[in-house]
Structures are given as structure tokens and as C-alpha cells.
């Protein structure tokens, strides 16, 4: 079997428009990508496999990658375990959903509102503000974590939802992407809106926001991804306010007895961001196209 039949057989079409491509090179690229893909996928396959293993297969030697007789026991056990915990698991889930929804809505609205003038209005100070925002991408949470904690102590926000939600709304990564994307909007469209008598707010809300749909979808995905996985141990300590990922880590930390349930829970946890990403991928890539740093 030669290389081109291999490619054809698996419906892998190498773009025809491209020039300067040798068959041997294409084949090598394919091999490398598949090899790396298997390496990246392995832990996921193992986690999903574990989630469907009955107890008798979890501790075989050597361990199985795939279950022989897949069962749903682990997912059912997860349900039972969740109902019997001291703080009901629905509470953890509610906390995570609340934080995710409010934080994401705030991030998208505030970041878009801020990005619009930065991209389209040459008001005094706009360049300076944008330079500060770009600078902030260069250090991020690693530097601001501890000082932010001190600020939250002063604001008496420790152990409240605000401590997680408000900083998430101020993600400069989202603002940066939004501003870069908004620069592509045609100025004549904004002027036409103004001539038609639309005020600044109306123009922003109905004209600009409709134009930047890929960008706000992207912001939603990144914000959800961050907040859905958030387990803010130091700023929230009341059991009733803790998040779902925390509950997951507690169950996973249960060790041998919980190995199956832990895997089931991990599968539930990772499904959400992956599904969201599948539906928004093309929008995210479109947003990233405009993300470049201009000279």
C-alpha cells in the first residue's frame, strides 16, 4: 500500500491549492500528527475507560485501557454519593453555575463596552489605557493573586461570591481580543447609524454587538472555561459556597474506594467545556485571526 492510498483510504485530503509539497513530506507530517495525537488522547481514553469499568476490572494487573464489560455503575454511584454528602451536591453545582453565568455575563458586557471606544473613538487616554491592558497580559494572575487577596480583605469580600465573580469580569485577555476584533468594523456603518439618529448606546448595542458575534462567543467560551473549573480555595472557605470542582477533587481524593466514581465525575467535568468548544470553534479561530499584536 503506497502513501497516497493510505491518505485516500482515511479520507484525509491534503489541500490541492498548496504548492511545494512532496508526497514523502506529507506522509511524514501525517505520521507525526497521528503519533502526537495518540499521545495527547491517551489520558482521556484512560479516564473515559475507567469511568465505565466495573469494580472487578478497576484493579486488574496489568490495568486495562478499555473496559471489557462497560457498565454505568460508577455514574449511578456518583449520583448516590452526591445525594448523601453533608452539603448537597446540588449546592456545589448551583454555586459553580451561578459564578459561571454571572461572571461570564459581566465579562462579555463590560469588556465589549470598554473595547468599543478603545477600538473606534480616539478619545484622550485611549492609547495609554490600551497599552496598560496589553502590559497586563504579560504578567496576569501570578503577580496579582496575593495583593488582590489583600484588597478583598479590605473590601470584606472574602468568603463571598463577589470575590470570584468580579475579578473574572475584569479579564484583560477578553477585552484585548474584543478590541482587536472591533477594529475591523467598518466606520461608515457607524456613521450611517449616527446619521439615522442612533445614540452611542444604541449604536453599540445593536450595530457593534451584532458585528462582533464571533468575538463575544469566544469571550463566553474562555470565561466559562475559567469559571467552570474555578476552585477558589483561599478566598472561599464556607462549605456552602464552595464550587463543583472542589467537590470533584474531594471525591477523587477519596482514593481506591472511589476510583471509579472519581473517573465518572472527571468525565462529567470535562464534557462541558469540550462540548462548548466544539460548537464555537470556528468563531474562536475567527476571533484569534484578529488577535495579533500590531507594530
Amino acid at each position: 500500500m503506497n502513501q497516497s492510498t493510505v491518505l485516500k483510504r482515511y479520507h484525509i485530503r491534503i489541500k490541492k491549492a498548496k504548492v511545494n509539497r512532496s508526497h514523502a513530506g506529507n506522509f511524514l507530517v501525517l505520521l507525526l500528527v497521528i503519533g502526537l495525537g495518540v499521545f495527547v488522547a491517551l489520558p482521556f481514553v484512560y479516564a473515559v475507560g475507567n469511568a465505565f469499568k466495573p469494580l472487578s476490572e478497576l484493579w486488574l494487573f496489568p490495568p486495562l485501557l478499555f473496559p471489557r464489560k462497560p457498565v454505568l455503575t460508577n455514574f449511578l454511584d456518583l449520583f448516590g454519593l452526591l445525594q448523601n454528602s453533608w452539603v448537597p451536591i446540588s449546592r456545589y453545582l448551583f454555586n459553580t453555575i451561578l459564578i459561571t453565568v454571572v461572571g461570564t455575563a459581566g465579562q462579555v458586557i463590560f469588556a465589549s463596552m470598554c473595547a468599543y471606544p478603545l477600538a473606534k473613538h480616539p478619545f484622550p487616554g485611549s492609547k495609554f489605557i490600551f497599552r496598560l491592558i496589553f502590559l497586563s497580559l504579560m504578567f496576569g494572575g501570578a503577580v496579582t493573586g496575593i495583593p488582590s487577596y489583600l484588597i478583598m480583605v479590605k473590601l470584606r469580600w472574602i468568603d463571598t461570591y463577589w470575590a470570584v465573580i468580579i475579578p473574572a469580569m475584569g479579564s484583560t485577555f477578553g477585552l484585548y481580543l474584543m478590541k482587536q476584533f472591533m477594529e475591523q468594523i467598518n466606520d461608515s456603518m457607524l456613521e450611517a447609524a449616527k446619521i439615522d439618529g442612533a445614540g452611542e448606546w444604541k449604536t453599540f448595542w445593536w450595530i457593534v454587538m451584532a458585528q462582533v458575534k464571533p468575538a463575544w462567543l469566544t469571550l463566553i467560551v474562555f470565561s466559562v472555561q475559567g469559571l467552570w473549573n474555578a476552585s477558589p480555595g483561599t478566598i472561599i472557605y464556607s462549605e456552602q459556597l464552595k464550587t463543583f470542582p472542589y467537590a470533584v477533587s474531594q471525591i477523587v481524593a477519596g482514593g481506591i474506594a472511589r476510583a471509579g466514581v472519581g473517573s465518572a465525575m472527571t468525565v462529567v467535568m470535562m464534557t462541558v467545556p469540550i462540548i462548548v468548544f466544539i460548537f464555537t470553534q470556528s468563531n474562536i479561530i475567527e476571533t484569534m485571526t484578529s488577535s495579533g499584536v500590531k507594530e
Binding site: 482521556f44 479516564a47 463596552m113 484622550p124 493573586g145 495579533g292
Partner: protein, 312 residues
């Protein structure tokens, strides 16, 4: 117009101020628009940096008011804190692996994927980005588990490569290599997506023109056409990679415990969280944060300058 000219004749400085005030009035709504975000940005990004730098010159434990001690914290940090030196060494080691090495990996993979059909490319993008989407580090704990039931140990035992289980995540000889391996696995993050987008964005006709001009293979095409064209994306991806590479402390905690055996995998982030989150020596913690700030910004600036030279 005449007023403007009169002002210019008087003093360019006054004219400049007048112009600024005029534009501030004209765009007064813009300030309202940026206000909510800016307030959050100032409170949780700008002020923290100022706090980190100013408190780094004090002794502060959150119970007593801070006392000013000049550069005592910095002296302590660099001269009398051997653990911090370990942390610097490890942070730079991991930063090189998850920064430049991962950046290069992202670039090569994005380049490879660009040649596939769009459907296949989407699937592969999802696959390679999945480790960033879903935090499944605990699976690696099962794979590198220290007893005979760990996936790797059990297979190695069966094949007869090792005689007894290896303590992958606690033996000082293996911690760093195993961590590097796992961190590389998880390092295809935002920069990967940015580069995928960058490759797709290149004007297709350029390739045909280049072929006519005598570009012979894909390497020449990459260096002479593609990379210079996507320089803006290269720069943004670099910022994402570098910033991400300095913040990996928490991942190490999950995998190796906090602290890892004999502190072999200790990073600046761990040191920072230890003093700031556990010991509550905030002055000292802020010194570490301020140091991290300076290092991250300078490294980022350096690579921004370097990348602006691509293809020139």
C-alpha cells in the same frame, strides 16, 4: 479655524490642551463606556501591582500595620533564602520547556494542521487543545502512580524493564522529567489557537506567487512567506505562552503534592503562595510577586522585540 490658528500662534502647549479638552468633551460617552471595566481593572490588576511593589519594602503580617524596612526583603530573598534560589532555577527550567519549547511545538503543529482539510483540522484542533479545556491532571496521577497498579509501572513490570514499581512523582530523580513530560502535554493552549488562526489567515495567492518566484519547498515557504505574514499572531501567541509558562505552580502541587519531595520541583509561584497564603508574611510575599512581575514583563518585552525581526 481662526481661533485655532490664533491659539497656535500663542503657544502650542495651550493649543494642545485645548484640543485635548475638546476631544474629551466630544467623546465624553466613551469614558462612561469604559468606566465599569476600568474600575475592575484598576482594583484587581493595577492596584495589586502597586501594592506588590510598595509592600515589598515593608514587613507586614496582616495583624500589625506594615513597617518600612527598605530593601531588607530583597536582601533576605536573594542572599539568605536557598529555597528561593531552587525556585528560580526550577521556574526558569519549566518556563523554557513550557514557554519556548511549547511555543515551537504549537507553531509546528499549527503549520502541519494547516495542510489538512478543514474538517480534519477542526477535529485535530479539538484534540490537541483538549488538555487545556479539561483539567484532567489527576489521570496522570493514575498513570504515574507509584504502586504496581499504576498504568506505566504495571506495563514496565510486565515487560521486565523494571523489577519494582518506580515512585515517579515522589522520587527526586524522576519528578522533574515526569513533570516536563506532563506540562508539555498540557501546553498547547491559547497560543496554539492563535497560530492556527494565523496560518489560515495568510493570503493564499502569496503561495502561488512564491512558487513562481522560485520558492522550492515548504521550509522556504514557511520562512519567507508564511511567518513574516503572520508576525502579529506570532507575537500575541508568544505573550500567551510566556505568561502561561510562569504560572504553572498549582499544576505541580496537584501532581507532586505541596511541597514536592525535598522541594525539588519548587517554583517561584509555590514560594509566593507559601509566604502569601500559608505563612501570611505579606511583605515578603509581595517582594516575590514584585520580582516575578519584573521578570515576566522583561522576558515578554525581550521576545516581542525578537519576534518583530522575523523574516527581516
Amino acid at each position: 479655524m481662526t481661533r485655532c490658528r490664533a491659539a497656535k500662534a500663542g503657544s502650542p502647549f495651550v493649543a494642545g490642551i485645548k484640543n485635548t479638552i475638546f476631544r474629551m468633551k466630544k467623546y465624553r460617552f466613551s469614558y462612561l463606556f469604559i468606566l465599569p471595566f476600568l474600575l475592575i481593572f484598576i482594583t484587581f490588576t493595577l492596584v495589586p501591582v502597586i501594592i506588590a511593589i510598595s509592600y515589598s519594602l515593608t514587613k507586614f503580617n496582616m495583624l500589625q500595620p506594615p513597617t518600612f524596612i527598605w530593601f531588607e526583603n530583597y536582601r533576605q530573598l536573594f542572599l539568605f533564602d536557598p529555597l528561593f534560589l531552587t525556585a528560580i532555577k526550577n521556574t526558569f527550567l519549566f518556563a523554557v520547556i513550557t514557554g519556548p519549547a511549547s511555543y515551537f511545538l504549537c507553531l509546528v503543529l499549527a503549520w502541519f494542521l494547516n495542510d489538512f482539510s478543514s474538517k480534519f483540522r477542526s477535529i485535530l484542533t479539538l484534540l490537541f487543545y483538549a488538555p487545556t479545556l479539561a483539567n484532567v491532571f489527576f489521570v496522570w496521577q493514575l498513570i504515574f502512580n507509584s504502586d504496581a497498579y499504576g498504568l506505566l509501572n504495571s506495563y514496565l513490570l510486565k515487560l521486565g524493564v523494571i523489577a519494582q514499581p518506580v515512585q515517579w512523582l515522589t522520587d527526586v530523580r524522576y519528578i522533574i522529567p515526569v513533570l516536563i513530560f506532563i506540562l508539555l502535554w498540557a501546553s498547547l493552549g491559547t497560543s496554539f489557537l492563535v497560530l492556527i488562526a494565523g496560518f489560515q489567515n495568510v493570503d493564499r495567492t502569496l503561495y502561488e506567487a512564491a512558487a513562481v518566484d522560485g520558492v522550492k519547498n515548504r521550509w522556504q515557504e514557511l520562512w519567507f512567506i508564511t511567518l513574516p505574514y503572520m508576525r502579529p499572531q506570532l507575537r500575541f501567541a508568544a505573550v500567551m505562552s510566556i505568561t502561561g509558562s510562569f504560572g504553572i505552580g498549582p499544576t505541580i502541587d496537584i501532581l507532586c503534592g505541596n511541597p514536592s519531595t525535598n522541594y525539588v520541583a519548587w517554583t517561584i509561584m509555590n514560594h509566593l503562595n507559601d509566604y502569601g497564603g500559608v505563612r501570611m508574611e505579606m511583605g515578603y510575599a509581595c517582594t516575590i510577586a514584585a520580582f516575578l512581575f519584573i521578570v515576566m514583563v522583561s522576558v515578554n518585552k525581550f521576545f516581542q522585540n525578537l519576534l518583530s525581526k522575523v523574516g527581516q
